[in-house]
Amino acid sequence: MTKRNIIQTLILSCVLASVYGQSSIAIELNTRGFYSAGLSYQYALDEAFTIGATMEIPLGFAADRGLDKAGRLSVFSRYNGAESSLYWEVLPEISFLWLEQELGNFVTLMLGADVELGYDFGEAKLGFLTGLEYNPLMFFDPGAFVQSTFEGSGQAAPPAGWYANSGLNWRVGLTTAWELGDHFDLGFNAGLRLQPVTDAPLFSGFPYGNLPFFSELSCVYSLD
């Protein structure tokens, strides 16, 4: 792992949030795989259980650099089982992703769930997180470029259709958060994204998106 790798894989999120009773709305700008803008809605069913959804679309300058159109719709929930200073959270999430780029067009589904276990110091939290991400299938329309790679190989080009993605990622890492005054919250997650159920080699050491490393830095400003 080099400094270059770490910079390359850092997801930056800047969030502006506002609370209205049991609801909260947030807008965010981030580098979640592409420069994007997101709109998020959360509803607190009770003190512990929250559900929500995030819609995320790329900003214009992502276009024509291998990533023409992309987006994500995530439905998530959060259960906070805080007891005194110890806390634990469960964060299941379902994401629909679409991506139009040089390789072709994708519509994929990703199922994931993180579990956090940590200690709340009051103005700061430090915890351990682990979770699974499963990508059960995708719709894929191979682009002309992918088709062209088969020319002259004596092999048939791939048809459009449903393709199975057997990827199961296991996330494990540390999570921490700070309250900075009445309005600012900083959060940072970092760790490894591994493939626990295959005997394939782990591809690491280069920022081509093949890294097992992940890191997420978020800065939240609450209007209230």
Binding site: R4, I7, R65, A70, P136, W162, P201, F203
Partner: protein, 334 residues
């Protein structure tokens, strides 16, 4: 609690519906098979440090292993590439020497090998393994494009007695301090690379097929400033890129945020003229080669290919072919 049940039931229903509708294909069909899986492809078995591997090859003007002592020109492609881009150029170089080219192990349609067998030491030994098999009684003119320029230079330093000429097409800096002059070829936080990070969330690199497929996006992404017109990038003909290979190669030269290496030992005594082809639209183009790599050889011949970037073999194939023909003719008839 009722809300929770509804939420999870909806999720389960949606997932099962998607599974039920799917006639699922395997992702490994998204890249062509290698010679290991497809015996109909032309292949040779080489032995590199006691490890055997099948390579995909083309030979022009001779039968591999039967050279009658004549000089052979070897063509080696660069990273994220294979020999497909040379299919038009190679036959035009046979006026003075037969030509042999192959997909490097771990690249193109050659067999995939573990990461440790893709190190520079192994890549250099691969050249010698191919020579022993294909042209055991001949000298060779060795062409290395981009990354292979490093491998070819290492080979030239170790086995000058086997070479009659050396051609380097825009090699990276042969010393870390040279590469620092070019700056980072990686465009950190460029949207193309971020796109790769995005892919990593749902295209897990569980095998070579997947990492090769995903690496294709880099080839077309225009992330690197290697083109005359980045908005009208020439497509690089390729069958299949070697994703793991480029990962290993880049890792071998990167240290922190910089470069610390020196592959110039022994180059100063290389006894033959060395042809450098370099362009005017590449960070490791003509000016870079003039300031750096050419100074490591006794007799460098630096030729500028104008109006081209790092993909000069597809942007200016005629100029490249002419320069190669001129050089081969010179060293053969000297």
């Amino acid at each position: 609690m009722g809300n929770k049940k509804t939420f999870w039931c909806l999720n389960l229903f949606l997932t099962l519906t998607l599974f039920g509708c799917a006639n699922i294909l395997e992702l490994d069909r998204l890249v062509p098979q290698t010679v290991k899986e497809n015996s109909g492809l032309p292949s040779l078995e080489i032995e590199v440090f006691d490890q055997r591997a099948l390579i995909h090859y083309r030979a022009y003007g001779f039968t591999p292993g039967d050279t009658s002592g004549q000089t052979i020109t070897f063509l080696m492609h660069g990273s994220l590439s294979d020999m497909k881009g040379y299919l038009d150029i190679a036959p035009q170089l046979t006026a003075d020497t037969p030509v042999f080219m192959w997909d490097l192990r771990g690249n193109g349609l050659s067999e995939r090998v573990p990461a440790k067998e893709l190190s520079f030491r192994w890549m250099c030994e691969e050249i010698e393994s191919v020579r022993r098999l294909v042209a055991p009684n001949s000298k060779i003119i060795l062409l290395g494009y981009s990354w292979s320029g490093i491998f070819a230079s290492l080979y030239a330093a170790q086995h000058p007695e086997n070479l009659e000429g050396l051609i380097l097409i825009e090699p990276p800096g042969l010393k870390g301090e040279y590469q620092d002059i070019a700056g980072s070829a990686l465009n950190l936080l460029g949207s193309g690379y971020l796109g790769m990070a995005y892919l990593s969330e749902f295209l897990s690199p569980i095998d070579h097929e997947m990492i090769d497929f995903r690496s294709l996006a880099i080839l077309e992404a225009g992330v690197r400033d290697f083109f005359v017109d980045i908005d009208n990038r020439p497509t690089m003909p390729v069958w299949r890129v070697g994703g793991l290979a480029v990962s290993v190669w880049e890792s071998e030269v990167i240290s922190g945020m910089g470069y610390e290496y020196d592959y110039t030992h022994g180059l100063g005594t290389f006894p033959h003229p060395v042809l450098f082809l370099a362009t005017d639209h590449s960070p490791i183009g003509y000016d870079f080669q003039q300031r750096t790599n050419t100074n490591e050889f006794q007799d460098p011949r630096l030729v500028k290919i104008p109006n081209a970037g790092h993909r000069l073999i597809v942007e200016q194939p005629e100029a490249v072919t002419q320069a190669l023909q001129d050089y081969i003719q010179e060293v053969i008839h000297d």
